[in-house]
Amino acid sequence: MPTMSMVQALNSAMDVMLSRDPTVLIFGEDVGFYGGVFRVTEGLQKKHGDQRIFDAPIAEGGMLAAAVGMGAYGLRPIVEIQFADYIYPATDQLISEAARIRYRSAGEFAAPITVRAPCGGGIFGGQTHSQSVEAIFAHVCGLKTVMPSNPYDAKGLLISAVEDDDPVVFFEPKRLYNGPFDGHPDRPAVSWSGHKASEVPEGYYTVPLGQAAVVRPGSEVTVLAYGTMVHVALAAAEEASADAEVIDLRTLLPLDLDTIVASVKKTGRCVIAHEATRTCGYGAELAAQVQENCFYHLEAPIQRVTGFDTPYPHALEWAYFPGPQRVADGIRRALERQTP
């Protein structure tokens, strides 16, 4: 089986769908001839032609509006937002239109749109190239929200998103594009080759939306993570030498609550890790649901390890990033018994 980076896996997913389904088309800033600033659409215009994949004006809201109209016609557009930080101009079309159209038309019209956006930090992008905005969209009924953590899931989830008949916001942790990242910036960067999740079939397959994956079984404490933080959580589990069960959510909405509840009922302890700012971040929803469903099994407060409630700084990127040490501390706090 070929090994692919996340960039290649995402590219392959779109290549497969362009080949399978003539209603699929792709547009976004610099995605056409150039192949995207992260090279995710490289070669696709050459292979499928500029009617299928083309550059868009720099207008995220306009792109979403066009996609909604195309969806009403019966196409399945994939829109690339160059950075998740630049999705805000598209919020009205995404929230007021794409997310609502099925409901308000009583099912007559739909918006089978996939919105791809690189998210997260770790590349010294500063406050406008590092944001994780998933919580805003997970709050919006009518949208589905996805964030893969490895090449295999990225391709399978993206194909599921494109085939889904509802709008999906698909966040791609840019720090994982070309290799896994365990949160140790001082260590040499590693590539995906060698990582087992880089074994990606050439052809069509799906990873269903709404299913989490237990990426590390354990019995002492449950760590909930997604995107880059999955790799950080795995490193932290080792460094805290804790028997931690690490769950990669993969899809934030719909959420795979059963897998989470089963794990926390088993471990009785829970740590939630994400890169986004804390207040009203997705971790708040996870904490709320875990305590609602596992209250009588919890032996310690659920710990949130997250980005701080500040913009993503440039020079102090690694002070901001919730790295393995902070996650390990969270695990230790979760493992403490009550201190009176």
């Binding site: 207008a59 509006a65 195309m70 016609y73 079309q93």
Partner: protein, 423 residues
Amino acid sequence: MNDIPPTPTYPKTEPLHLHIPPHREMPGQRPDFSYFRLPPAGGFPRPAIDCPSVETHPLATALIRVLDDGDGRDAEAVGEWDPKLDPETLRRGLRAMMLTRAYDDRMHRAQRTGKTSFYMKCTGEEAIGVAQAMALRPDDMLFPTYRQQGLLIARGYPILDMTCQCYSNSHDPLKGRQLPVLYSSRAYSYYSLSGNLGTQLPQAVGWAMASAYKGDTRIAAGWIGEGATAEPDFHHALTFAAVYRAPVVLNVVNNQWAISSHQEVAGGDEATFAARAIGFGLACLRVDGNDFLAVYAATQWAADRARANHGATLIEHFTYRAGSHSTSDDPTRYRPEDEPRTWPLGDPVERLKGHLIHLGEWSEERHKQAEAELVDVVRETDREAQKYGTLDSGPHFSTKTMFEDVYKEMPPHLRRQRQELGV
């Protein structure tokens, strides 16, 4: 180091002053349309539909008019823009406008009597929805605003369904989910109306791009109010229509008012709304929106141009919102009571009626008859609709339907929430 440049001394200048567009004549004052120059009917050329868009740009400051019916002149159709419609078609148009008005009046009163929450009339603007629906093909896709109910009516959508939608009752095609007048009908190629202004215009462009991508022959048409042109969606619609040369007809309905704000708050004093097309190299037309024939002709021109792959046209329909913005406001609080009556471009129904009479194809008696008949039609329809319920007294769709259609398949968390509610 960098050498600091010498700071020259500057002549003292007058203080700046912030220009706030003054509110127009206030309640109690006399309406003033003296600024308004009414150009003659038939006064402007009709370019070839495949002309370069620049040839249309002089029309941004024109006002295309066909009915030569000003100050007591009898209602001749004149000039290059005369669509030369047969009397049957004209009568159909007149009837659709009259039905629209009768329906509006009925539903407006229904809201007043508490049968529903809200209503919006298009009184004085009926020519736009009706003539445009007739000039477009039945399967061309429409992305309207809440003030083009004439489109649906002229396409023959059952007013029973419209009434049931406004009552959010057990027969509401939209299951009671939407505010009254926010219709949707895939079967009639009428896109679901949004409560958010402007959003549908660039969607129309996207639909048109899809149609072109598929090698289809259907075009799209979108509408926006002059007030809403300030929203980003208007900019996006023009940009995408220009860049991808989308087969779409973009309509700005300039009815002078945006709730209480006159069109100058949207920039209407600085330039016409049709002129917004110039900076994008799009074709544009500016038309007397109360002249059924002019609206029909302009729409036909733009539709033919789009269908022939010559790209989009921006049409400004210059009209007047004769009624309140909605049932939620009282226009006499922000404009003179008799402003509607003194509007220089008259009433679209009266004007088409006058033309048909002039042609010997209609009469005052037939008009009165038709009026009475349509009032009956609407009353009967309303009666029937009320059998299926009204907002205030029901019946409505069942509570469990509230959780449907959020997604194609109901996800677990919604199923749990539905169970919480015990439905």
